[in-house]
């Protein structure tokens, strides 16, 4: 019984932690639903797409490419979502205590936002599978709900003034950035340098050629620069996992 209550508390805490993501996902999910409907997908197809794929940028690409050659679609989606390999590898040490089904579920629902949020909130391991799955499910349902609403109202709704809701994720990232830059002075300096290099690379790449793969490239460049510029932090067993 106490276990059950503990689990329930973890679910509530995880869902509550996901609220900033859920707000942002509802707004951007709505936009993605409108795009899907305009590309000729039915509301049911748009909703299935978000329930089965659950990957924002890949869904925009799907709407664009699904009428063409399937191989182009699959390769493009694979490349765009390859960054999740990085997230899952970086996140894996935090879920060592969780059983295989729980790890599978957590991995299957990793997104830019849930990964960023959870790694920023947690100093180390995930407190429980229930907490993490509740966080991700909240984001997931909000995303799918936004997609459905966008697809159903479609072009008829036009551009709805989201009262600034489309800025929710940007604001959340501002807070996560502050949470990431912590620890001893040298660690803070390294994190600031990595953040600056990632931002500079990303903005340069986007100005040159907007592409969903730019995020993967910018992340790789910045992480490599971090290791190269701060070799003392990359050595020794006292390294923290995140």
């Amino acid at each position: 019984m106490t276990e059950l209550i503990g689990g329930f508390r973890a679910v509530l805490a995880g869902a509550r932690a996901a609220v900033p993501v859920a707000i942002g996902y509802a707004g951007i999910g709505f936009a993605a639903g409108v795009v899907g409907a305009q590309a000729g997908l039915s509301p049911a197809e748009v909703t299935l797409l978000s329930l089965i794929l659950f990957a924002g940028s890949a869904q925009f690409v799907f709407a664009e490419l699904y009428v063409g050659a399937p191989i182009t679609l699959f390769v493009t989606v694979f490349l765009i979502n390859l960054r999740h390999l990085l997230y899952a590898t970086a996140f894996a040490p935090r879920v060592r205590g969780i059983g295989a089904p729980g790890r599978f579920w957590i991995g299957a629902q990793l997104t830019d936002e849930t990964f960023s949020l959870a790694t920023s909130l947690l100093p180390g391991a995930v407190p429980s599978a229930a907490w993490m799955i509740a966080l991700q499910m909240t984001a997931y349902l909000s995303w799918a709900g936004g997609n459905l609403a966008g697809a159903v109202t479609g072009g008829a709704a036009g551009t709805i003034g989201w009262l600034g809701v489309d800025f929710a994720l940007a604001a959340m990232f501002a807070a996560l950035l502050m949470l990431q830059v912590n620890g001893p002075a040298r660690q803070r300096l390294a994190m600031t340098a990595v953040a600056a290099i990632a931002a500079g690379t990303m903005v340069t790449l986007e100005l040159w050629h907007p592409h969903p793969l730019n995020l993967l490239v910018a992340t790789g460049v910045a992480a490599t620069a971090g290791v190269a510029l701060f070799p003392s932090l990359a050595r020794g067993p006292a390294e923290k996992p995140a």
């Binding site: 399937p70 894996a92 991995g107 807070a175 931002a199 050595r235």
Partner: protein
């Protein structure tokens, strides 16, 4: 409200190529013991992703740098950073950021 079989197949194919990189490292979590330098590299991934997404969002409008710094995304982004620095709270930052963005957008007439 219909689902075409070929569209469903395409969706399932996309899921296949998406779920493997998401899940594989999680399932291998017990066997993964990467060297310290790789651990450090992976440790920079969240910061890099967060920073790249944030600055793309506030600096670029429709894919380009706006001609003026008096721009809702940029100003609301800086306001969000200030709130985040002062409060260290995600909730307050999101509320503050949304409010700043809505007000700036209305005020600057975008």
């Amino acid at each position: 409200m219909s689902v075409r079989p070929e569209v469903l197949l395409l969706i399932l194919g996309c899921m296949g190529v998406t779920i493997v990189p998401r899940v594989l490292p999680m399932l291998a979590a017990h066997r993964l013991r990467p060297p310290a330098v790789v651990v450090a590299w992976l440790g920079y991934v969240p910061t890099a992703v967060i920073s790249a997404l944030f600055f793309k969002e506030i600096l670029l409008v429709d894919g380009t740098l706006p001609g003026t710094p008096v721009e809702p995304h940029l100003l609301a982004g800086l306001a969000s950073l200030a709130v985040a620095f002062a409060t260290r709270s995600i909730g307050l930052t999101v509320i503050g950021g949304i409010a700043a963005y809505a007000v700036l957008k209305a005020w600057l007439g975008h």
